[in-house]
């Protein structure tokens, strides 16, 4: 995706609807040049407001639809803005379920003007089944006790901590928000089932021996809806290191009547799965999401988890991820 970005916030009334834009703003401030808000928009990322034409004049490459809604559809009220962006010379990127390329007025404008449309949920590559062959370079994968527990955030925090100390590191995105942040990647849950591990192999190709791919995990081995995706991603990623993401106060899987697994069970199951394609895999840390906990409680939980697992534990939002990276940088 051509950088920098104009972050389209549309008419989003509240912050929970612009998580994609907020993620890009937080993790890729250098690409977040401006925001574009429609009447009725109730949020502000603290960026300059620009129209697509103004943004194009400032060198912006892509307008990113940074808004999510429940159905994942493109509201009609956005269409004129999207066409205006194409006409101003910008590419347009979307993580919605509904594809921009399926909307005739947008597809036609993009074709006529020679712009690129990025429907990041739809893999464009042709994948093949994974082959399990060892690749050079190092890989870290975030895994978790459940969905929506901080796997993307943890990976981004680890990439940031690695880069801060001069390590070679690249975040590798496997979901639409991550792809928007990274500018590339693959929506691993949208590929054909046969090609999950193959897509993961494609995502983190051979690299320098001291280079780290920090791969965004998906789902959980303990989630009855998505564990297949998780396992294929583990096998294709061939991680040298896994970081287990945990929310200490969570008792049940999101939206399901299933208990979350015990942390030790979760670590062991992920290591057992990962050993198939990388017998040397290690668990190197526990990342906790403490957004629903108070500070004193957090301190105790960190101590307890470190005592229980023998691994460094931190909340990447409260503490950053240095503690975990220390182990790899030794």
């Amino acid at each position: 995706m051509r950088t920098p970005y104009l972050l389209f916030l549309g008419d989003a009334p509240e912050f929970s609807m612009i998580k994609t834009a907020a993620g890009i703003r937080e993790w890729r401030p250098e690409f977040s040049r401006a925001q574009f808000r429609l009447p009725g928009c109730g949020v502000d990322l603290g960026l300059p407001d620009m129209t697509p034409a103004e943004a194009a004049a400032e060198g912006v490459g892509t307008m990113v639809l940074g808004v999510v809604n429940v159905g994942g559809f493109i509201p009609e009220v956005w269409l004129a803005s999207i066409v205006a962006a194409l006409e101003a010379g910008l590419d347009v990127a979307s993580g919605m379920h509904q594809r921009l390329a399926d909307i005739p007025i947008i597809a036609e404008a993009a074709a006529r003007l020679g712009r690129t449309i990025h429907d990041v949920r739809q893999p464009k590559q042709v994948f093949t089944p994974g082959n399990g062959a060892k690749r050079s370079g190092k890989r870290l994968l975030t895994v978790g006790i459940d969905c929506v527990v901080g796997k993307k955030y943890t990976a981004l925090a680890i990439e940031k901590a690695m880069r801060a100390r001069g390590m070679k590191a690249d975040f590798r995105a496997t979901g639409q928000t991550g792809i928007m942040i990274a500018g590339h990647g693959v929506a691993i849950d949208a590929v054909i089932a046969d090609f999950i591990s193959g897509a993961a192999e494609w995502l983190s190709p051979a690299n320098d021996p001291d280079h780290w791919d920090v791969i965004e995990g998906q789902g959980s081995l303990f989630h009855p809806s998505y564990a297949g995706v998780t396992l294929g991603l583990i096998h294709g990623s061939q991680p040298d290191a896994i970081v287990v993401c945990h929310e200490p106060v969570r008792t049940h899987l999101l939206g399901l009547d299933y208990p979350v697994p015990d942390l030790r069970t979760c670590i062991d199951a992920n290591l057992a799965a990962a050993r198939l394609t990388n017998p040397e895999v290690r668990a190197i840390g526990i990342s906790i999401n403490t957004s629903r906990m108070g500070a004193p409680e957090v301190d105790q939980v960190v101590k307890d988890i470190e005592a229980e697992t023998g691994l460094p534990c931190c909340d990447p939002i409260r503490h950053g991820a240095s503690k975990i990276v220390d182990l790899l940088d030794a």
Copy 2:
């Protein structure tokens, strides 16, 4: 799929290319009404030779392309026969990668004549992610140390043995050949990754308490290309019983430089995975593929495996599957 079938053998020069037709002939003789061979065809299933028009006059409902080739494409020399079948009043089913519906002359004829085209590799249903909710009825899933080790054959032999003793049982197909045999099912490796377990839940819906779905397994938890599919299928199937398929003389995964897992390890890993959605799951037998072994050797291997695992062991081709079904019919 409308039965009975006209099995199209095309110009297949040798038996290895008509495995789909041979599977239907073997497992669904009651549906295998006739065969249709083109000049150059070097194989014979022992069925009456009929043209599509003759078959239609005999009440045949569907012409099944029972031939496979390496690329999975529809050769041009077949096109006239396929159109002739549609014109004679037959539906046409194909398990090839290339879709009949994508070939204009075929799509046009089917639309004009009101016939149904079954491209069984392409799921027609819209799936949702699995929800892990318990369903009534009983389920048996075949799993394996590797791909192409006898999971479909074992499931079909178990269905046959169950039905022979009056048990309620249905084979549930998860691959294109199985779908051709059953007349329905889902090519589980062709669904979107997010929906693997959801598709498996769809495949074996709630049923009578004493009804068995005998589900065709896919891939292997120990196969780095396909384990994600395997795990999603396990979780969605919620098996009460698993049968582990094994080839005693196999040392490496088909086509990969990976050793096959130890049988005990394989049993335990599959049970551990299956317990997530069915804590009561049991391993009830070992199905061995002894096509590359001699009879005395087979007897010894059966004894050894039964001693090692404590489970009944048989080759469904040599011995049938009664020994395994005994445990469920007790």
